[in-house]
Amino acid sequence: MKKIRIIFTTIILLWVAAYFISLGFENKRDVISDGIAIVPIKGAILPEDSNDILSGSGMGSDTIINNLKRAENNDGIKAVVLEINSPGGTVVASREVANYVKSLSEKKPIVAWIREVGASGAYWIASSSDVIIADEMSITGSVGVISSYLEFSGLLERYGVEYERLVAGDLKDVGSPFRDLNDNERNLMNIKLKKIQDIFIKDVAENRKLDNAQINEIRHGFFYLGVEAKELGLIDEFGGREKAIAKAKELAGIKDGKVVEYKSEKSLLDLIEGFTNKAFFSMGRGIGMSLFKNEIENKFEILAA
Protein backbone atom coordinates (compact mmCIF):
# COMPACT_ATOMS: atom_id res chain seq x y z
CA MET A 1 0.00 0.00 0.00
CA LYS A 2 2.89 2.30 0.84
CA LYS A 3 4.46 1.47 -2.51
CA ILE A 4 1.42 2.43 -4.57
CA ARG A 5 1.10 5.64 -2.53
CA ILE A 6 4.67 6.57 -3.47
CA ILE A 7 4.00 5.72 -7.12
CA PHE A 8 0.93 7.93 -7.30
CA THR A 9 2.56 10.74 -5.31
CA THR A 10 5.48 10.74 -7.76
CA ILE A 11 3.10 10.75 -10.72
CA ILE A 12 1.19 13.70 -9.30
CA LEU A 13 4.41 15.60 -8.51
CA LEU A 14 5.75 15.06 -12.03
CA TRP A 15 2.43 16.20 -13.48
CA VAL A 16 2.52 19.36 -11.34
CA ALA A 17 6.13 19.97 -12.39
CA ALA A 18 5.24 19.58 -16.08
CA TYR A 19 2.25 21.86 -15.62
CA PHE A 20 4.32 24.62 -14.01
CA ILE A 21 7.05 24.30 -16.63
CA SER A 22 4.41 24.68 -19.34
CA LEU A 23 3.09 27.79 -17.57
CA GLY A 24 6.59 29.19 -17.45
CA PHE A 25 7.01 28.75 -21.18
CA GLU A 26 3.51 29.93 -22.04
CA ASN A 27 4.48 33.47 -22.93
CA LYS A 28 7.12 32.15 -25.30
CA ARG A 29 4.60 30.16 -27.34
CA ASP A 30 4.04 30.71 -31.02
CA VAL A 31 7.46 32.26 -31.47
CA ILE A 32 7.71 32.11 -35.20
CA SER A 33 8.55 34.64 -37.83
CA ASP A 34 7.36 34.72 -41.43
CA GLY A 35 4.95 31.84 -40.96
CA ILE A 36 2.09 30.62 -43.13
CA ALA A 37 -0.74 29.07 -41.12
CA ILE A 38 -2.75 26.26 -42.64
CA VAL A 39 -6.22 26.13 -41.11
CA PRO A 40 -8.20 23.03 -42.08
CA ILE A 41 -11.93 23.07 -42.76
CA LYS A 42 -12.88 19.45 -43.20
CA GLY A 43 -16.19 17.63 -43.16
CA ALA A 44 -19.50 19.29 -42.43
CA ILE A 45 -19.39 22.77 -40.89
CA LEU A 46 -21.49 22.60 -37.77
CA PRO A 47 -22.17 24.75 -34.70
CA GLU A 48 -20.12 22.28 -32.62
CA ASP A 49 -17.51 19.62 -33.32
CA SER A 50 -19.09 16.26 -33.99
CA ASN A 51 -17.48 12.85 -34.15
CA ASP A 52 -20.77 11.04 -34.03
CA ILE A 53 -20.27 7.56 -35.43
CA LEU A 54 -23.82 7.18 -36.72
CA SER A 55 -24.66 10.61 -38.03
CA GLY A 56 -21.19 11.57 -39.29
CA SER A 57 -18.47 13.96 -38.25
CA GLY A 58 -17.83 17.60 -38.80
CA MET A 59 -15.99 20.65 -37.55
CA GLY A 60 -17.58 23.19 -35.26
CA SER A 61 -17.47 26.82 -36.38
CA ASP A 62 -15.99 27.68 -32.96
CA THR A 63 -13.07 25.33 -33.59
CA ILE A 64 -12.36 26.82 -37.00
CA ILE A 65 -12.67 30.38 -35.68
CA ASN A 66 -10.39 29.58 -32.72
CA ASN A 67 -7.73 28.33 -35.14
CA LEU A 68 -8.14 31.49 -37.21
CA LYS A 69 -7.81 33.57 -34.04
CA ARG A 70 -4.54 31.83 -33.21
CA ALA A 71 -3.24 32.78 -36.63
CA GLU A 72 -4.55 36.29 -36.19
CA ASN A 73 -2.96 36.81 -32.79
CA ASN A 74 0.39 35.36 -33.77
CA ASP A 75 2.46 38.22 -35.17
CA GLY A 76 4.80 35.71 -36.79
CA ILE A 77 1.99 34.40 -39.02
CA LYS A 78 1.97 36.54 -42.12
CA ALA A 79 -0.72 34.76 -44.16
CA VAL A 80 -3.32 32.04 -43.82
CA VAL A 81 -4.21 29.15 -46.11
CA LEU A 82 -7.64 27.62 -45.61
CA GLU A 83 -7.44 23.94 -46.49
CA ILE A 84 -11.03 23.26 -47.50
CA ASN A 85 -12.45 19.80 -48.02
CA SER A 86 -16.06 20.21 -47.04
CA PRO A 87 -19.48 19.80 -48.67
CA GLY A 88 -20.85 22.69 -46.62
CA GLY A 89 -22.78 22.77 -43.40
CA THR A 90 -25.41 24.60 -41.45
CA VAL A 91 -26.21 28.13 -42.53
CA VAL A 92 -25.30 29.97 -39.33
CA ALA A 93 -22.10 28.02 -38.66
CA SER A 94 -20.91 28.56 -42.25
CA ARG A 95 -21.71 32.25 -42.11
CA GLU A 96 -19.97 32.69 -38.77
CA VAL A 97 -16.76 31.33 -40.28
CA ALA A 98 -17.23 33.28 -43.54
CA ASN A 99 -17.65 36.53 -41.61
CA TYR A 100 -14.56 35.83 -39.54
CA VAL A 101 -12.49 35.01 -42.62
CA LYS A 102 -13.66 38.26 -44.21
CA SER A 103 -12.64 40.35 -41.21
CA LEU A 104 -9.32 38.53 -40.88
CA SER A 105 -8.56 39.05 -44.57
CA GLU A 106 -8.41 42.77 -43.87
CA LYS A 107 -5.44 42.12 -41.56
CA LYS A 108 -3.67 39.18 -43.16
CA PRO A 109 -3.85 37.68 -46.67
CA ILE A 110 -5.99 34.55 -46.85
CA VAL A 111 -5.83 31.95 -49.59
CA ALA A 112 -8.60 29.35 -49.80
CA TRP A 113 -7.38 26.06 -51.18
CA ILE A 114 -10.24 23.76 -52.20
CA ARG A 115 -9.13 20.15 -52.37
CA GLU A 116 -11.76 17.56 -53.29
CA VAL A 117 -14.83 19.59 -52.49
CA GLY A 118 -15.54 23.10 -51.30
CA ALA A 119 -19.20 23.54 -51.95
CA SER A 120 -22.12 25.47 -50.53
CA GLY A 121 -21.32 26.73 -47.00
CA ALA A 122 -17.66 25.82 -47.54
CA TYR A 123 -17.65 27.85 -50.75
CA TRP A 124 -19.26 30.72 -48.81
CA ILE A 125 -16.20 30.65 -46.56
CA ALA A 126 -13.79 30.34 -49.49
CA SER A 127 -15.40 33.30 -51.25
CA SER A 128 -14.59 35.46 -48.21
CA SER A 129 -10.86 34.92 -48.70
CA ASP A 130 -8.56 36.93 -50.98
CA VAL A 131 -7.78 34.18 -53.50
CA ILE A 132 -9.37 30.80 -54.21
CA ILE A 133 -7.23 27.98 -55.56
CA ALA A 134 -8.71 24.64 -56.58
CA ASP A 135 -7.99 21.65 -58.72
CA GLU A 136 -9.54 21.55 -62.18
CA MET A 137 -11.70 18.68 -60.94
CA SER A 138 -12.54 19.98 -57.48
CA ILE A 139 -16.23 20.32 -56.76
CA THR A 140 -17.31 23.81 -55.82
CA GLY A 141 -20.20 26.25 -56.07
CA SER A 142 -23.57 24.79 -55.03
CA VAL A 143 -24.72 28.18 -53.83
CA GLY A 144 -28.07 26.96 -52.64
CA VAL A 145 -29.95 26.06 -49.50
CA ILE A 146 -31.55 22.77 -48.63
CA SER A 147 -33.86 21.69 -45.86
CA SER A 148 -35.04 18.13 -45.76
CA TYR A 149 -36.33 15.56 -43.37
CA LEU A 150 -37.85 12.12 -43.49
CA GLU A 151 -41.61 12.15 -43.31
CA PHE A 152 -43.15 9.10 -41.64
CA SER A 153 -46.86 9.81 -41.82
CA GLY A 154 -47.49 7.15 -44.51
CA LEU A 155 -45.53 4.58 -42.54
CA LEU A 156 -47.34 5.39 -39.31
CA GLU A 157 -50.69 5.14 -41.06
CA ARG A 158 -49.77 1.75 -42.48
CA TYR A 159 -49.12 0.43 -38.98
CA GLY A 160 -52.19 2.05 -37.53
CA VAL A 161 -50.31 4.67 -35.54
CA GLU A 162 -52.01 8.03 -35.35
CA TYR A 163 -50.35 11.40 -34.87
CA GLU A 164 -52.25 13.26 -32.16
CA ARG A 165 -51.76 16.89 -33.11
CA LEU A 166 -52.05 19.40 -30.28
CA VAL A 167 -50.66 22.80 -31.23
CA ALA A 168 -51.15 26.38 -30.19
CA GLY A 169 -50.41 28.15 -33.45
CA ASP A 170 -51.40 26.37 -36.64
CA LEU A 171 -47.87 26.43 -38.08
CA LYS A 172 -46.15 25.26 -34.90
CA ASP A 173 -45.51 21.73 -36.13
CA VAL A 174 -44.46 22.57 -39.67
CA GLY A 175 -41.68 20.15 -40.50
CA SER A 176 -42.93 17.46 -38.17
CA PRO A 177 -42.05 14.04 -39.59
CA PHE A 178 -45.45 12.74 -38.50
CA ARG A 179 -47.52 14.62 -41.04
CA ASP A 180 -47.26 15.84 -44.61
CA LEU A 181 -46.85 19.53 -45.44
CA ASN A 182 -49.80 21.25 -47.08
CA ASP A 183 -49.26 23.60 -50.04
CA ASN A 184 -49.32 26.73 -47.91
CA GLU A 185 -46.76 25.33 -45.47
CA ARG A 186 -44.53 24.14 -48.28
CA ASN A 187 -44.72 27.59 -49.81
CA LEU A 188 -43.82 29.24 -46.49
CA MET A 189 -40.82 26.97 -46.06
CA ASN A 190 -39.66 27.72 -49.60
CA ILE A 191 -39.92 31.46 -48.91
CA LYS A 192 -37.61 31.05 -45.91
CA LEU A 193 -35.11 29.03 -47.91
CA LYS A 194 -35.22 31.64 -50.66
CA LYS A 195 -34.47 34.40 -48.13
CA ILE A 196 -31.46 32.48 -46.87
CA GLN A 197 -30.26 31.84 -50.42
CA ASP A 198 -30.59 35.55 -51.25
CA ILE A 199 -28.29 36.45 -48.36
CA PHE A 200 -25.91 33.66 -49.38
CA ILE A 201 -25.78 34.80 -53.01
CA LYS A 202 -25.46 38.48 -52.03
CA ASP A 203 -22.45 37.65 -49.84
CA VAL A 204 -20.80 35.48 -52.51
CA ALA A 205 -21.50 38.03 -55.26
CA GLU A 206 -19.98 40.83 -53.16
CA ASN A 207 -16.98 38.75 -52.21
CA ARG A 208 -16.28 37.59 -55.76
CA LYS A 209 -17.52 40.76 -57.46
CA LEU A 210 -19.90 38.80 -59.69
CA ASP A 211 -22.07 40.49 -62.31
CA ASN A 212 -25.77 39.77 -62.86
CA ALA A 213 -25.15 37.10 -65.48
CA GLN A 214 -22.84 35.24 -63.15
CA ILE A 215 -25.30 35.61 -60.27
CA ASN A 216 -28.13 34.20 -62.39
CA GLU A 217 -25.94 31.25 -63.28
CA ILE A 218 -25.03 30.34 -59.69
CA ARG A 219 -28.57 30.97 -58.43
CA HIS A 220 -29.54 27.46 -59.63
CA GLY A 221 -27.50 26.05 -56.75
CA PHE A 222 -25.74 23.56 -59.00
CA PHE A 223 -22.17 22.50 -58.31
CA TYR A 224 -19.28 23.24 -60.67
CA LEU A 225 -16.02 21.52 -61.43
CA GLY A 226 -12.88 23.60 -61.00
CA VAL A 227 -12.60 24.25 -64.74
CA GLU A 228 -16.17 25.50 -64.91
CA ALA A 229 -15.80 27.48 -61.71
CA LYS A 230 -12.80 29.36 -63.09
CA GLU A 231 -14.74 30.37 -66.21
CA LEU A 232 -17.56 31.58 -63.98
CA GLY A 233 -15.21 33.57 -61.78
CA LEU A 234 -15.87 31.42 -58.72
CA ILE A 235 -12.19 30.51 -58.31
CA ASP A 236 -9.00 32.32 -59.25
CA GLU A 237 -6.34 29.75 -60.05
CA PHE A 238 -5.79 26.04 -60.47
CA GLY A 239 -3.42 24.28 -58.14
CA GLY A 240 -2.87 22.40 -54.92
CA ARG A 241 -1.19 22.84 -51.56
CA GLU A 242 2.14 24.10 -52.90
CA LYS A 243 0.45 26.64 -55.13
CA ALA A 244 -1.71 27.84 -52.24
CA ILE A 245 1.32 28.23 -49.97
CA ALA A 246 3.28 30.01 -52.70
CA LYS A 247 0.36 32.36 -53.32
CA ALA A 248 0.06 33.08 -49.59
CA LYS A 249 3.78 33.88 -49.42
CA GLU A 250 3.46 36.11 -52.47
CA LEU A 251 0.52 38.01 -50.97
CA ALA A 252 2.35 38.36 -47.65
CA GLY A 253 5.53 39.45 -49.39
CA ILE A 254 7.72 36.77 -47.84
CA LYS A 255 10.11 34.32 -49.43
CA ASP A 256 10.94 31.48 -47.06
CA GLY A 257 8.07 31.25 -44.67
CA LYS A 258 7.61 28.33 -42.33
CA VAL A 259 4.37 26.40 -42.76
CA VAL A 260 2.49 25.84 -39.55
CA GLU A 261 -0.58 23.67 -39.34
CA TYR A 262 -3.29 24.80 -36.94
CA LYS A 263 -5.26 21.69 -36.30
CA SER A 264 -7.25 20.54 -33.36
CA GLU A 265 -6.28 16.95 -32.87
CA LYS A 266 -8.69 14.66 -31.16
CA SER A 267 -7.29 12.87 -28.18
CA LEU A 268 -7.97 9.23 -27.53
CA LEU A 269 -10.22 10.35 -24.69
CA ASP A 270 -12.30 12.48 -27.09
CA LEU A 271 -12.77 9.53 -29.41
CA ILE A 272 -13.70 7.24 -26.54
CA GLU A 273 -16.07 9.88 -25.19
CA GLY A 274 -17.77 10.23 -28.57
CA PHE A 275 -18.11 6.50 -28.88
CA THR A 276 -19.36 5.87 -25.36
CA ASN A 277 -21.85 8.75 -25.52
CA LYS A 278 -23.39 7.22 -28.59
CA ALA A 279 -23.22 3.71 -27.24
CA PHE A 280 -24.99 4.61 -23.99
CA PHE A 281 -27.55 6.67 -25.84
CA SER A 282 -28.28 3.86 -28.25
CA MET A 283 -28.40 1.24 -25.53
CA GLY A 284 -30.95 3.27 -23.61
CA ARG A 285 -33.30 3.97 -26.41
CA GLY A 286 -32.42 1.49 -29.09
CA ILE A 287 -30.68 2.33 -32.32
CA GLY A 288 -33.96 2.67 -34.19
CA MET A 289 -35.29 5.15 -31.68
CA SER A 290 -32.08 7.14 -31.76
CA LEU A 291 -32.34 7.52 -35.53
CA PHE A 292 -35.98 8.46 -35.20
CA LYS A 293 -35.15 11.03 -32.52
CA ASN A 294 -32.44 12.59 -34.67
CA GLU A 295 -35.00 13.26 -37.35
CA ILE A 296 -37.30 15.02 -34.92
CA GLU A 297 -34.48 17.10 -33.47
CA ASN A 298 -33.18 18.03 -36.90
CA LYS A 299 -36.48 18.91 -38.43
CA PHE A 300 -35.67 22.61 -38.70
CA GLU A 301 -32.03 22.19 -39.57
CA ILE A 302 -31.39 24.16 -42.69
CA LEU A 303 -28.18 23.42 -44.50
CA ALA A 304 -26.17 25.51 -46.83
CA ALA A 305 -25.26 22.21 -48.41
Binding site: L14, V31, I32
Partner: protein, 139 residues
Protein backbone atom coordinates in the same frame (compact mmCIF):
# COMPACT_ATOMS: atom_id res chain seq x y z
CA UNK B 1 12.93 -15.17 -11.95
CA UNK B 2 13.48 -13.75 -15.42
CA UNK B 3 10.56 -12.09 -16.97
CA UNK B 4 8.64 -12.50 -20.25
CA UNK B 5 9.06 -9.94 -22.99
CA UNK B 6 5.33 -9.33 -23.43
CA UNK B 7 4.93 -8.51 -19.76
CA UNK B 8 7.70 -5.92 -20.07
CA UNK B 9 6.16 -4.45 -23.22
CA UNK B 10 2.73 -4.10 -21.62
CA UNK B 11 4.21 -2.55 -18.50
CA UNK B 12 6.12 -0.10 -20.69
CA UNK B 13 2.95 0.79 -22.59
CA UNK B 14 1.14 1.56 -19.34
CA UNK B 15 4.03 3.78 -18.26
CA UNK B 16 4.10 5.43 -21.67
CA UNK B 17 0.40 6.27 -21.28
CA UNK B 18 1.11 7.76 -17.83
CA UNK B 19 4.00 9.83 -19.19
CA UNK B 20 1.81 10.94 -22.08
CA UNK B 21 -0.92 12.21 -19.76
CA UNK B 22 1.23 13.80 -17.04
CA UNK B 23 4.20 15.08 -19.03
CA UNK B 24 3.80 15.02 -22.81
CA UNK B 25 0.36 16.61 -22.97
CA UNK B 26 0.98 19.58 -20.65
CA UNK B 27 4.33 20.31 -22.30
CA UNK B 28 3.35 19.67 -25.92
CA UNK B 29 0.90 22.56 -25.64
CA UNK B 30 4.01 24.71 -25.87
CA UNK B 31 4.62 23.55 -29.41
CA UNK B 32 0.97 23.37 -30.41
CA UNK B 33 1.73 25.15 -33.65
CA UNK B 34 3.36 22.13 -35.12
CA UNK B 35 5.69 22.75 -38.01
CA UNK B 36 4.33 20.52 -40.73
CA UNK B 37 6.83 21.19 -43.48
CA UNK B 38 10.16 20.38 -41.98
CA UNK B 39 12.29 20.15 -45.06
CA UNK B 40 15.56 20.83 -43.28
CA UNK B 41 16.85 21.06 -39.75
CA UNK B 42 16.88 24.85 -39.74
CA UNK B 43 13.09 24.77 -39.98
CA UNK B 44 12.89 23.15 -36.55
CA UNK B 45 12.64 25.89 -33.99
CA UNK B 46 14.90 25.87 -30.96
CA UNK B 47 11.78 25.90 -28.86
CA UNK B 48 10.56 22.66 -30.42
CA UNK B 49 13.90 21.00 -29.70
CA UNK B 50 13.99 22.24 -26.10
CA UNK B 51 10.44 21.13 -25.37
CA UNK B 52 11.04 17.70 -26.95
CA UNK B 53 14.16 17.26 -24.85
CA UNK B 54 12.33 18.43 -21.75
CA UNK B 55 9.57 15.89 -22.33
CA UNK B 56 12.17 13.16 -22.79
CA UNK B 57 14.18 14.11 -19.70
CA UNK B 58 11.18 14.41 -17.37
CA UNK B 59 9.87 11.14 -18.81
CA UNK B 60 13.15 9.43 -17.94
CA UNK B 61 12.86 10.83 -14.43
CA UNK B 62 9.47 9.16 -14.06
CA UNK B 63 11.12 5.73 -14.44
CA UNK B 64 14.29 6.74 -12.60
CA UNK B 65 12.65 8.17 -9.47
CA UNK B 66 10.17 5.34 -9.08
CA UNK B 67 12.66 2.53 -9.69
CA UNK B 68 15.14 4.17 -7.34
CA UNK B 69 12.51 4.68 -4.62
CA UNK B 70 10.35 1.57 -4.83
CA UNK B 71 11.82 -0.53 -7.64
CA UNK B 72 8.62 -0.28 -9.65
CA UNK B 73 6.73 2.09 -11.89
CA UNK B 74 2.95 1.95 -12.20
CA UNK B 75 3.21 -0.36 -15.24
CA UNK B 76 5.66 -2.63 -13.44
CA UNK B 77 3.43 -2.66 -10.37
CA UNK B 78 0.41 -3.70 -12.44
CA UNK B 79 2.33 -6.40 -14.30
CA UNK B 80 4.25 -7.56 -11.22
CA UNK B 81 7.73 -6.59 -12.36
CA UNK B 82 10.52 -4.89 -10.46
CA UNK B 83 13.93 -3.46 -11.20
CA UNK B 84 16.75 -4.83 -9.09
CA UNK B 85 20.42 -4.02 -8.75
CA UNK B 86 22.85 -6.88 -9.20
CA UNK B 87 24.90 -5.30 -6.40
CA UNK B 88 23.43 -4.27 -3.10
CA UNK B 89 20.58 -1.82 -3.43
CA UNK B 90 19.62 0.26 -6.45
CA UNK B 91 21.26 3.67 -6.32
CA UNK B 92 20.10 6.73 -8.23
CA UNK B 93 22.88 6.57 -10.83
CA UNK B 94 22.01 2.99 -11.65
CA UNK B 95 18.31 3.86 -11.96
CA UNK B 96 19.14 6.81 -14.18
CA UNK B 97 21.54 4.85 -16.39
CA UNK B 98 19.18 1.90 -16.89
CA UNK B 99 16.42 4.28 -18.01
CA UNK B 100 18.50 6.72 -20.04
CA UNK B 101 17.44 5.24 -23.39
CA UNK B 102 13.77 5.84 -22.57
CA UNK B 103 14.36 9.42 -23.69
CA UNK B 104 13.56 8.12 -27.17
CA UNK B 105 11.61 5.09 -28.32
CA UNK B 106 14.13 4.51 -31.13
CA UNK B 107 17.00 4.37 -28.65
CA UNK B 108 14.99 2.06 -26.42
CA UNK B 109 14.37 -0.35 -29.29
CA UNK B 110 18.09 -0.51 -30.06
CA UNK B 111 18.79 -0.89 -26.34
CA UNK B 112 16.31 -3.75 -26.12
CA UNK B 113 17.95 -5.89 -28.82
CA UNK B 114 20.17 -7.44 -26.17
CA UNK B 115 17.16 -8.93 -24.39
CA UNK B 116 17.06 -11.64 -27.04
CA UNK B 117 20.72 -12.58 -26.49
CA UNK B 118 21.07 -12.08 -22.77
CA UNK B 119 20.65 -14.92 -20.34
CA UNK B 120 19.16 -12.55 -17.78
CA UNK B 121 17.10 -10.81 -20.47
CA UNK B 122 18.88 -7.52 -19.86
CA UNK B 123 18.85 -4.51 -22.13
CA UNK B 124 22.30 -3.07 -22.95
CA UNK B 125 21.82 -0.27 -20.44
CA UNK B 126 20.68 -2.74 -17.81
CA UNK B 127 23.98 -4.53 -18.35
CA UNK B 128 25.91 -1.24 -18.06
CA UNK B 129 24.03 -0.23 -14.91
CA UNK B 130 24.34 -3.72 -13.41
CA UNK B 131 20.60 -4.03 -12.97
CA UNK B 132 17.97 -6.48 -14.06
CA UNK B 133 14.19 -6.65 -14.43
CA UNK B 134 12.59 -9.45 -12.49
CA UNK B 135 9.19 -10.93 -11.92
CA UNK B 136 7.82 -9.78 -8.61
CA UNK B 137 5.50 -12.19 -6.84
CA UNK B 138 4.05 -9.45 -4.70
CA UNK B 139 3.07 -5.91 -5.49
Amino acid sequence: MNVGNFRRVFAFLVDLAVVDVIITRPLSKLVGDEISDVSNLSDVSLELIIVSLLIGIIGVFYWTILEYKVGQTLGAWIFKLRAKSLNKGMNFTQALLRNATKISVALLIVDSINIFFSEKKQRYFEVFSKTVTLRSEER
